[in-house]
Amino acid sequence: MDMKSFLHKLRKLTWLRKYWFHILVWVAMVIYVVIAPSAYSRFILRDGKPVSLDLVLPANTAKMMYSVDRLDPIIFHGQNLYTLWGWAFIPGEADQSIYERFIVLRSDTKTYFFPVVNSTRPDVQSAFANLHLDLLNSGFTTYLAKDDIPRGSYRVGILFRHKASSLLKYLDTNSIIIRTANQLQLVK
C-alpha cells in the first residue's frame, strides 16, 4: 500500500475526520510532556549543571581527608536545585589553594563533574590544628540540578586538579546520591 492510498483510507474513517483536531492536540501535549524536561534542562536551567572535563579519573588516592556533610534543596535564581556541603583537603600539602576541586558523581555508566565553591570552615581548621596547614578554605558547596542527572545511584567522589600541572588526585567517598523521579537524596 502506498502513502497516497493509506491517506485516502484514513480520510474515509469518519471518527478520525471528526476528531482529528483533538487527536492532534493530545498528541502535541504528549510530545510536549516528553520533551519539556530536556528542553528545560537545555534552554532554561542555568545553574547546578555538570561541566565537561576531558580527563580520565585516576585510581583512588587514600591521601585525602574529607566529609560530605549534607544535601539541601534550595531555590537559587528561581531554580529548584540542591546544595551539597562538605570539606576536603590533602594532608601534607602546604598550599591547598594550588588545587581546584570538583565533586564527581559516578554510576556504572555515567560520570559527572560539578565545580565547587570554596567556603570557610574554621571548625576544620581547629579540628586539624595539629597538621599546621591552612585549612580555612577547605569547605565546599556545590549546586546540583537533578534535571541533568538520569535516575539512579551515584557514588560521590572528590577530585583535586593541580592548577598548573593538571595533576589529578581522586577519592571515592562513602556517600551516595540517589536520583529518584523527583528528588536527590544523600545516603552516607
Partner: protein, 478 residues
C-alpha cells in the same frame, strides 16, 4: 452562585480543620480573594459562552474545580515519586483537561445542565453548611477565651515584700536533656554546660522527662502544677497558660509578672498570658513584615497558584524568621534592662533550639528559609547553650547579692525529630523514642537543700517545690 461556592469551599474546609490555631481574619481575607477570583473567572466564562448564564456558571465552576485541586494532585504525585512531576508539564496538562471538561459539559442540553447546576449547588451548599457548623463552636470558644483577657495593671494594691527573691522561669523549647546529646549526638559539650550550671550553684537533674512531647501541654501542667489531659486540647492549654496558677499565686505575694513568650508565632490564636508586662514579639517587627500567613499558604498550596510557591514562600518565611531572630535578641536585651522593682516573676519561653534550625553554633544565621533538617539541630542546640549561659550570667551579675534570684531553667520536651512537610529525609535515623521527652531541668534556688532531690524529678513539681520553700505553701508534691 456555584462558582462562588466552589471558590470559597477549600478555604472554609481547611479553616474548619485548623480553626483552633488560625485567626478568623486570615479566613476572611482569603474569602475575599476567593470571591474576587470567582467573579473574574465567571465574567470571562460568561464572555466565552456568549452571555449564557448557565453555561458560563458551569464552565467557571469546572475551571475552579481543577484550579482548586491542582496543588493536591501535584503534591500527591510528587511525594509518590514514581513519575517525574514538574509544574511546566503538569499545569499545561491540567489546563488542557479543564478545557476538555468544559467543552464536554457545555455540549449537554440546557435541561440537563440545569439539573447538574442544581445538584452541584445543593451539594456545595450542604458541604459549606457542614463546615460552618464545625467552625462556629470553635469561634465562639475563641471569643470566650479572648473576652476576659485584659492586662491587669501593674501591682499596686498588694504590698510588696522586697525580701522575696526575683524568680526567673526560662523555657528553652525543644532543648534536649543531656543523655541524648551524649549518646546520640556524641556531644560532650553538655558536660561543660553542666559544669557551668553547677559552678553557678544550680541543681541539675539529668533524668528528668516531660510527660508529653507537646509544648502547650507541658507549660500548662507546670504553670498550674496539675495534670491536663494529653494531647491536642489546645483551647484548654491556651486558657490554662494565659491565666495560670503560678502567676496568680505570685500576684498575691506582691510580685510583678513579666512575660516573654514566642508561642504566638507558632500558635496565632494563642492567648496572651495575663501578666503585668507581656512581650509576644519584639516591638515593631512581626506585624510590619507579615504579608501573607501560613493559612494562606495552606490554601494556596492546593491550587494552581502553587506554581508561584518560589515567590510566596519567602514572603511567609522571611517575616517569621526575622521576628524570631528579633525576639531572641530583644528578650536577652530587655531582661537585662527591666526597670521593674523586685520582687518580680519573669517568664521566658523562646523557640530555641526549636525548628527552624537557622543558626550555626555561634548564633549566626545560616539558613534564610524554614530549615527543617534535623542534622542542624546540634548547631542550634550549641547556640542555645550559649544563649542560656549569657542569660544566666546577665541575671546573676545584675542580681542583688542580699536577695539572690531563683532561676528555673528547663525545656518543655526533648528533640522530637518531627517530620515537617513530609520531608522524611530530614529526620534523624534511629532516634530513640524515649529521648523525645528528655528535658533540661536545672534549678538555682539559694538556700534550698537540693541534695535529696531525685535525678528524675517530675517537672510538674517545680513550683510546688519552690513555693513550699519560699512561702511554706504546703503544696503536695506529685
Amino acid at each position: 452562585m456555584l462558582p462562588l461556592l466552589l471558590a470559597v469551599y477549600p478555604s472554609l474546609f481547611l479553616y474548619s480543620n485548623n480553626a483552633a490555631i488560625t485567626l478568623l481574619s486570615s479566613l476572611i481575607r482569603l474569602l475575599w480573594f476567593n470571591a474576587l477570583l470567582a467573579l473574574v473567572v465567571y465574567l470571562i466564562s460568561l464572555l466565552i459562552n456568549k452571555f449564557n448564564a448557565w453555561r458560563g456558571s458551569i464552565s467557571a465552576s469546572v475551571f475552579l474545580f481543577y484550579f482548586n485541586i491542582y496543588g493536591m494532585v501535584f503534591n500527591f504525585l510528587y511525594k509518590r515519586d514514581f513519575i517525574r512531576i514538574e509544574h511546566y508539564t503538569l499545569l499545561p496538562l491540567f489546563i488542557l483537561l479543564t478545557f476538555y471538561s468544559v467543552w464536554a459539559i457545555v455540549k449537554i442540553n440546557n435541561f440537563n445542565l440545569h439539573r447538574i447546576w442544581n445538584i452541584a449547588s445543593f451539594i456545595m451548599i450542604g458541604l459549606i453548611i457542614i463546615n460552618l457548623i464545625k467552625i462556629t463552636p470553635a469561634e465562639i470558644e475563641k471569643r470566650r477565651d479572648l473576652s476576659p483577657v485584659s492586662m491587669p495593671p501593674p501591682s499596686t494594691s498588694i504590698s510588696r515584700n522586697p525580701t522575696y527573691p526575683d524568680i526567673y522561669f526560662i523555657i528553652l523549647d525543644e532543648f534536649s536533656g543531656f543523655e541524648p546529646m551524649r549518646e546520640y549526638w556524641h556531644y560532650q559539650g553538655v558536660d561543660d554546660f553542666k559544669q557551668f550550671l553547677e559552678n553557678n550553684h544550680f541543681f541539675v537533674a539529668e533524668q528528668s522527662h516531660g510527660e508529653s512531647q507537646e509544648t502547650l501541654h507541658e507549660l500548662a501542667t507546670r504553670l498550674n502544677f496539675q495534670e491536663y489531659p494529653c494531647c491536642d486540647q489546645l483551647r484548654t492549654y491556651f486558657s490554662a497558660i494565659a491565666d495560670n496558677r503560678v502567676m496568680r499565686f505570685l500576684k498575691t505575694k506582691g510580685y510583678t509578672t513579666i512575660t516573654f513568650d514566642e508561642s504566638e508565632s507558632a500558635f496565632p490564636t494563642d492567648l496572651p498570658i495575663k501578666s503585668d508586662y507581656y512581650y509576644g514579639n519584639a516591638p515593631d517587627t512581626y506585624n510590619s513584615y507579615t504579608i501573607i500567613d501560613n493559612f494562606d499558604k495552606l490554601v494556596i498550596d492546593n491550587t494552581m497558584l502553587r506554581i508561584f510557591s518560589n515567590l510566596y514562600d519567602p514572603l511567609i518565611e522571611f517575616p517569621s524568621l526575622k521576628a524570631h531572630i528579633d525576639m531572641l535578641s530583644f528578650t536577652l536585651d530587655k531582661m537585662n534592662n527591666l526597670e521593674v522593682a523586685s520582687p518580680k516573676f519573669v517568664y521566658v519561653h523562646v523557640l530555641l533550639p526549636h525548628m527552624p534550625f537557622i543558626f550555626d553554633s555561634n548564633g549566626f544565621v545560616i539558613a534564610s528559609y524554614y530549615n527543617t533538617n534535623w542534622d542542624d539541630y546540634l548547631d542550634n542546640y550549641i547556640y542555645a547553650i550559649k544563649y542560656a549561659e549569657k542569660m544566666i550570667t546577665n541575671i546573676l551579675s545584675h542580681a542583688d547579692p542580699q536577695h539572690p534570684p531563683i532561676i528555673i531553667l528547663q525545656s518543655d520536651h526533648g528533640a522530637r525529630n518531627q517530620i515537617y512537610n513530609g520531608n522524611e529525609e530530614h529526620l534523624l535515623k534511629n532516634f530513640p523514642e524515649r529521648f523525645k521527652t528528655s528535658i533540661l531541668f536545672a534549678l538555682h534556688v539559694p538556700g534550698l537543700d537540693t541534695s535529696t532531690l531525685p535525678q528524675d524529678i517530675n517537672p510538674i513539681n517545680t513550683f510546688p517545690l519552690i513555693f513550699n520553700y519560699l512561702f511554706n505553701s504546703k503544696i503536695p508534691m506529685q
